[in-house]
């Protein structure tokens, strides 16, 4: 099937997925504890004032009516207005998406650039000191909590050596140097676990491929080991690595909350937590829809990339 066909088929299949996401997001919030009206009304509000605010926000309507109203606006690209800040949800998400996207991209790029070579070298020199060191680092990456790594980098590289700022974010428009300078510690912090993950998958995948007949044939032909590993084996081992990178990107988007808090990055993770604590329903629903859409898009990209690494997939 041509790539266009794959794209069309997968795009259509996205619709029911997002519809289910929308329904679950809506119901989860309505059935969870907490009430945005109680927070908005303040300490001195009497029952009549609370009822007036509930009516103004449309929260006194039956749930199916509220859901359909939200869904109708959603279909028109309107995610609603924040109950707390009175600003459009799209504006709030737009203000926060930059830092999350930036730290996710730098993390995944750094993780791939470091993790894949480590995995390849570990597989190539299986059982050697490099393999053992890579796997030890990998276990450490999984075992140490992100916030602990973050505080370690802050202590060492900011407080002691003064190399990087403790916190904050600078957008690209403020200069590439400033942008990268602020992202350095969050990227180093978040990357550790992804470097570990990618290195392990790359090692395992490559070890499997290195035992296959075509590799033996390539070696028998007298090809240099460098060509055998990097040109023939690595491409055949790429599908699991690409899968794990894709999953990694998806996990990163939703999983940067701790890093955003430790390094004070004004991203979507923090907006999510703030909105949940304030029971700001429209914002939470909007973020869930954006995250849901991002997950689906990433999965689509990963599927398409398979056809590049393994032509047999596109032929099926």
């Amino acid at each position: 099937m041509a790539i266009a066909g794959v794209l069309l088929k997968r795009s259509v299949s996205v619709v029911p997925v997002l519809a289910v996401v929308a329904l679950i997001a809506f119901l989860l919030l309505r059935f969870s504890s907490g009430d945005p009206v109680a927070q908005l009304a303040g300490d001195n509000a009497d029952p009549a004032a609370i009822a007036a605010i509930r009516a103004r926000l449309g929260l006194d309507q039956p749930l199916p009516v509220q859901f359909l109203q939200w869904l109708w606006r959603l279909l028109q690209g309107d995610l609603g207005i924040s109950i707390v800040s009175n600003q459009p949800v799209l504006t709030l998400i737009g203000q926060r998406v930059g830092p999350t996207l930036a730290v996710s991209l730098t993390t995944i790029i750094f993780s791939v650039l470091v993790g894949v070579p480590i995995g390849v070298l570990a597989a190539w020199r299986r059982g050697g000191w490099l393999d053992r060191f890579a796997m030890w680092t990998s276990v450490t990456g999984f075992a140490v909590p992100t916030f602990a790594i973050g505080y370690f980098w802050i202590y060492l590289l900011s407080m002691q050596l003064g190399l990087f700022p403790v916190q904050g974010y600078a957008s690209l428009s403020q200069g590439v140097g400033l942008f990268l300078w602020h992202l350095a510690l969050p990227t180093l912090t978040l990357s550790l676990v992804y470097v570990a993950l990618i290195a392990r998958v790359a090692r395992t995948s490559l070890l499997e491929v290195l035992n296959e007949d075509f590799v033996r044939t390539a070696r028998a032909k007298g090809l240099p080991e460098r060509i055998v590993v990097f040109k023939h084996a690595l491409r055949n081992a790429a599908v699991p690595i690409v899968s794990i990178v894709g999953i990694g990107v998806a996990l990163l988007i939703g999983g940067v909350v701790v890093t955003e808090s430790v390094f004070n990055l004004p991203g979507l993770g923090r907006l999510t937590v703030d909105s949940v604590l304030a029971r700001d329903y429209p914002v939470i629903q909007g973020i869930i829809m954006v995250f849901g859409g991002a997950y689906v898009a990433i999965n689509l990209l990963v599927d398409i990339s398979y056809t590049f690494f393994d032509p047999r997939i596109s032929a099926q």
């Binding site: 504890s33 109680a38 303040g42 190399l163 904050g168 140097g177 300078w181 923090r270 937590v273 703030d274």
Partner: protein, 530 residues
């Protein structure tokens, strides 16, 4: 040791060189005209009548002004008002605004702006609505003069107009004050010393204020919330940092200038930092509160409520919340320890377990479940609940602690249902002393019951009668006597248990000078040296 030192020095020197190289155009020392401040919470909602939290009040103090203000000695002083007169029969107050007052959009502040601002505010504020119930007419006389005509003499007109905490009577342009009181204004134009830079506002992340060059300050020193408001910086950035350890590191690293509410356990390390000052500028501090629900078993019985008080010990609560005795003080005062109405009548703040058990028996306690709502967002909120749960279990009560975040607790505590249906029995929280120092503003002493009282819904006609007496009483001495009677009665019927008073010092760069001592963080008068 020498080798270690050398290596470390070399590493630092190398890092410094590297840092200099890789930090393009980054000014490590910030501008002396900009203050970057991390406050106790971020600003999300910007209408100070809708956002009744302290963030709303602090935001309002920057961009709006008030007719009167309260100084550090609790004296009420004119702020926007130039002069005022009270008629001999004490029924007519005539106010004249200072000349030259302008809103941030350039329009002059007139009587036509003041009146709708007060009317909108009074619909949201308990003291304001009580005052309005005494007002026959609020009318403009000319552009700068307006009159407040009472139906009968009311002793709290000026204290109400000078209310020092949420919800404060901020003056807005008439076109904004026309907004319904339960709907937030969407434009932020005041006549205060700072302008709000809406284009840079990121709800929950950053709010930016710039000096209002047109602000006409009173020609007198700053004193509490009153006096001159001369802004000596160009810009003040209110930054949010969810992690206080990060904020503390940023202060030490000179990335910010001011940290409002570092947890008490971080304060010693901040005080030891080279360029950081830890100081307390809020003389009134904060009070913690234990509140029981009068509408549900078993706390619908006064003996059982009193049993809780006698089982309690303020020192234990404050140790769990604050830890360091340097920052707290036990006190029975319901109106604040050092305020004009402060009194120690009613309780010695210590436990008397035998008496508590006796009261439990007298109240006929039969093991009814006590549902305690515990917010776990910070030690200030959660510490005292843990202590109380243990104290109540020790006298034989059946306690179920339900932990949750503050947002969930706010939603739960408005429920008047039985505990079996989602209601609650007892909870703790923290408030500013400023909000408690006047019996009319003190919502804990609102004893109108379910009809409109504050959650917990105590009902007592005697306290309500005393509050009305207080409202009408013009003499300070007589007011103090009435306030003491209210406190005594409140202990008798147990409206709530005061949890003691504590201070929350701020931490700031040594470059900041002349910070005003006030019940809210203020950035006028502050200088930042290079």
């Amino acid at each position: 040791m020498f080798n270690d030192f050398s290596r470390r020095s070399l590493l630092k020197a190398g890092a410094a060189g590297l840092a200099t190289g890789i930090m393009p155009r980054i000014a490590r020392a910030q501008s002396s005209r900009v203050i970057r401040a991390v406050m106790h919470a971020p600003l999300r909602a910007t209408d100070p009548l809708i956002n009744t939290a302290w963030t709303g009040r602090n935001h309002g103090l920057n961009i709006y002004d008030t007719l009167f203000s309260t100084d550090s000695k609790f004296q009420i002083r004119p702020q926007m008002v130039e002069a005022y007169e009270v008629s001999a029969d004490k029924l007519t107050y005539t106010f004249k605004l200072r000349s030259g007052l302008k809103f941030h959009d350039g329009a002059p502040v007139t009587s036509a702006d003041v009146i709708p601002s007060l009317q909108r505010w009074a619909k949201r504020d308990t003291m304001g609505s009580r005052m309005m119930s005494f007002i026959a007419e609020l009318k403009p006389v000319d552009e700068r003069t307006f009159q407040l005509v009472l139906k009968s003499p009311y002793g709290q007109v000026l204290p109400t107009l000078a209310k020092p905490s949420s919800i404060m009577p901020f003056i807005m342009p008439a076109r904004l004050a026309a907004q319904a009181p339960d709907q937030p204004v969407t434009e932020f134009v005041g006549s205060g010393p700072f302008r709000f830079i809406a284009s840079e506002f990121r709800p929950g992340n950053r709010a930016v204020y710039e000096r209002n060059a047109d602000y006409v300050s009173r020609d007198e020193p700053s004193d509490g919330l009153a006096g001159g408001k001369i802004v000596k910086i160009d810009r003040y950035e209110w930054i949010s940092m969810p992690d206080f350890q990060t904020a503390a590191n940023a202060l030490v690293n000179k990335e910010i200038d001011f940290l409002e509410a570092a947890p008490h356990d971080i304060l010693p390390s901040l005080a030891a930092a080279k360029d950081v000052v830890v100081a307390d500028y809020n003389p009134l501090g904060f009070m913690s509160v234990c509140r029981m629900n009068w509408q549900s078993e078993p706390f619908n019985r006064p003996e059982i409520r009193q049993a809780v008080m006698y089982a309690s010990d303020q020192t234990d609560w404050l140790d769990a919340q604050v830890g360091n005795p340097e920052y707290y003080q036990t006190s029975a005062a319901m109106f604040g320890v050092t305020t004009p109405l402060g009194s120690e009548v009613g309780w010695n703040t210590k436990s008397d377990v035998a008496r508590a058990k006796d009261l439990l028996k007298k109240g006929g306690y039969k093991g009814e479940k006590v549902v305690m709502l515990q917010a776990t967002d910070s030690p200030l909120l959660s510490g005292s609940s843990t202590v109380t749960a243990q104290k109540l279990r020790a006298i034989g009560m059946n306690v179920e602690v339900q932990t949750m975040d503050w947002g969930s607790l706010l939603a739960r505590r408005v429920k008047q249902d039985s505990t079996a249906n989602g209601g609650w029995s007892i909870t703790h929280w923290v408030t500013t002393t400023t909000e408690l120092m006047n019996p009319l503003a003190n919502t804990l002493l609102d004893t109108r019951g379910k009809a409109g009282g504050f959650f917990g819904w105590p009902e007592d006609t005697e306290i309500e009668g005393l509050r009305n007496t207080f409202a009408l009483e013009p003499s300070a001495d007589a007011q103090k006597a009435v306030a003491e009677a209210i406190q005594k009665r409140a202990y008798d019927v147990m409206t709530h248990i005061p949890g003691g008073q504590f201070r929350q010092p701020v931490s700031h760069s040594k470059a900041l000078k002349n910070i005003v001592r006030a019940p809210a963080p203020l950035f006028w008068n502050v200088e930042k040296t290079a």
